[in-house]
Symmetry: C2
Subunit: 155 residues, 2 copies
Amino acid sequence: MAVHFRPATQDDLETLVLMLQDDALGSQREDGTLPLNANYLQAFDAIQADPNNQLMVAEIQDRVVGMLQLTFIPYLTHIGSWRCLIEGVRIHTDYRGQGLGEQMFQYAIGQAQEKGCQLVQLTSDKQRPDALRFYEKLGFVATHEGFKLRLLSPA
Amino acid sequence: MAVHFRPATQDDLETLVLMLQDDALGSQREDGTLPLNANYLQAFDAIQADPNNQLMVAEIQDRVVGMLQLTFIPYLTHIGSWRCLIEGVRIHTDYRGQGLGEQMFQYAIGQAQEKGCQLVQLTSDKQRPDALRFYEKLGFVATHEGFKLRLLSPA
């Protein structure tokens, strides 16, 4: 299964939003109506405008089958180090359980190494036991609690 | 205790590195020798150059007594939303247990709201039980596992 990675373009956006929605948690919080909610376009533009954010897609035979977002963050800690934060990892339902996730993470980790990152980090919902096992298998260690605080929408 | 918040400047850097080092975990991984390890200066410059990163200090009577870093990240998920990631929170040993942490988080959450963030997130080392309780008291919920993967230094 030859996988090709490239930055997402605006033409991918509908496909990506549908992939985000086709998920137990995503179905409760995304908006898959067309034309797309303008918030998605604004977010896409903001990601594109930030050189430390990369929204990547994985393609198999010209079909977008996976996505992930990398954020590169400079910190003073660890003697001034860059970290790579991975978020929004999704694989199309037709392509799960076939090793695509491992390839996507190999790619992401390679990108982090090229950027000189010392650490890759991510948080994974405790309601996703399969994902937790997947990350442990890749060598990630759950040394931290992942805390979230939801803010009220601005008035 | 009147606390003043402002962006860190290069003149704060020695104070900040010493504060990072004056900590059970930080003492094992930071370099407090002077003149400062050049990596700290490079990291500081990288933070300053990124409009989505803010390294903030808390001052009491013109003395730097606390620090934290905010990273604002645009995502497609949650119908295209911004998140605020908080990292590198430290309080000078002389000023702990006096409510400064709460004030620093009120400030950070205010900054996140101003930026239109829907979510504030952070990871906290499971070896810091006091910190875990502190975040829970502030309303953060540990819905996620915080996974880290350390990369080998680039050759």
